[in-house]
Each structure stands twice: as C-alpha cells, then as structure tokens.
Amino acid sequence: MTIIPVFFSILSGIAVGYLLRQKKVVKRTGILLNLVIMLLLLFLGIAVGSNREVVTRFASIGLEALLLTLGGTLGSLIAAGWLYKKAFHSPNEASRQSKKNIRDKR
C-alpha cells in the first residue's frame, strides 16, 4: 500500500502548515522544498544511471514518454475546448477579452 504513508505525509503537512500559517518559518517552505527536490533529482539520476536497463533502452523509453505526453495533452486540450464552449463561452468579459487577443494576434 503506497498511498497510506504518502497520504499521511501530505495531510500532516497540511495540518502543520495550517496551524503555523501566520508564522514566518512557513513562508520559507518554498526554498526548502526546492532544495529537497534538487537533492531528490540527484538521487533520481543516480537510480537511473545505475540501472542498465534504462540506459540501454533509453530511445524506446523516450518514445513511450512522447506517446503518453501526446495522449494526455491532447485529451486535456479536447476537454478544455469542450468546456469552453459549454460553460465559459458566455457573454462575459473573460471570453470577449480573449477573442480580442486572438484577433489582435492574427
């Protein structure tokens, strides 16, 4: 069960963040988070580099990634297009503004 410790870590973070939201320490979370991400990406590189399978199959891994990106991104684009027509495309200031923007760019 992967999800339980993950869930617990995030939820305890949310609770601590909420309780300390007025404190200055909390505002520095971003910097610390960035450092931790950098450290973990270094570890990720080490894990990838010491895995022969990944190094030799890098091209096919790249192709898989490209396909998954295409699928996921196109799926979300179609959802966004449909949602815009159904729920956002009403005579409000937002849609008029963006149409004007597109026209200006053309």
């Binding site: 999800i3 590189g45 010491s50 891994i61 295409l70 799926g75 966004a80 923007n101």
Partner: protein, 200 residues
C-alpha cells in the same frame, strides 16, 4: 526555465556519477531517498496548508472555475488510457500514474521511481517535461484551435508558475485567475493520484 535547466543538470550529474561509478555505496541506499521523499511530501502539504488564496478566487467565477481542473484530469486520463492500448508492455495503471504527473515532473518521477523503479520513473520524467514544454512552444496554436482554456489544461500543475506568463500572453489577462486556481488544485492532486495508481 532556469530552474528546469538546473533540475535537469542535477539529474544528469546523478546519471553520470552512477555510470562512472564514483559514488560511495552508502549513497545508493534506498532508505535515504525514501526518507527525503516523505519530507518532500510533508513540505508540499505545508505549502498547501499555509496558502491563503485558493478559495478566495472561487467567488468571482463560481463553480465554473472548478470544472477546468476536473476537465484536465478526466481528459488526461482518457487520453493516456487510449495510449496504454498501444503500449502492451505497460499496464493501464502504470500509464495513468505517468499521466497523473500533469507536468509536475520532479514530484511524479521521484514518486514513481521510488515505488515502481527507475524505468517507469524515467518515462514519467521525460513525459512530464515534454508536457510542460508543449505549452511553452504550442500555446498560441492551442488557443487558436481549442480556445483560451486549452493551454491552462495542457499546463497541468505548472499553470501557477512556469507556464503562467505564456498563458497570460496567449489566453489573455482574465484567465490568470483561472490558471492560478487550476495550477493549485492540480498541484495538490498530483501526489494523491500518482500514489493511488501505483498502489492499484
């Protein structure tokens, strides 16, 4: 952009160090990175818990603003599920966990590597970097063919930071709030979806 390059550089340093074998054994201990991973998730939580403006923006757009993160999520999962049919070696849940990174490549690839191995983790890293770059490169095209919400959906979790300037420019000023809200919601759901799909 600068940050992305720095991240990739660190990743490359790690790969090079492992291949050349200059690393001490102790650094390859799985428990160290797992411990730091939980620290990362805790910090992600602290940032969410201490943030103030997530619900303030709800008033102006009402419920409609909540539909976009939902659309992004469902659209992405549908698209990735179709692709999984083309990849017989990968299970549906593996593909979904990659898709659930929503361009948040650091967190998703770290989680996936930790729980599923470096191979799928690398797929996740590359796929989610490509997703972020797709917005940086194709935002004007996305707006033209799919409307102003399109680059926001494509940007996934990054629409409150790295891709925001591009969205502002091509979708228009009024969509900044939509993009901020979208980014915050997706950002928050990435670790949850990824770990959910990994445990299925």
């Amino acid at each position: 952009m600068k940050q992305t390059i720095l991240y990739l550089l660190l990743f490359a340093v790690g790969v090079a160090a492992a291949i050349t074998g200059v690393l001490p054994e102790a650094l390859q201990d799985d428990r160290i990175s797992k411990g730091i991973l939980y620290l990362l998730l805790f910090l992600v939580g602290v940032q969410i818990g201490s943030g103030r403006n997530m619900f303030r923006v709800l008033g102006r757009y009402g419920f409609r603003i909540m539909l976009l993160p939902l659309g992004t999520t469902l659209g992405t999962f549908a698209g990735v599920s179709l692709i999984s049919l083309l990849l017989p070696e990968r299970s549906l849940t593996d593909c979904l966990s990659v898709g659930a990174g929503f361009a948040y490549y650091s967190l998703s690839s770290i989680l996936i590597t930790e729980f599923r191995g470096a191979e799928l983790g690398t797929v996740a890293l590359l796929a989610n970097i490509m997703r972020e770059f797709s917005v940086l490169v194709f935002a004007p095209w996305m707006v033209r063919y799919f409307g102003p919400l399109a680059p926001i959906s494509a940007g996934g979790a990054t629409t409150m930071d790295t891709t925001l300037p591009f969205i502002t420019r091509y979708s228009g000023e009024p969509y900044v709030v939509v993009a901020l809200f979208h980014g915050m919601v997706i950002d928050f759901t990435v670790p949850l979806w990824v770990s959910l799909f990994l445990s299925l």
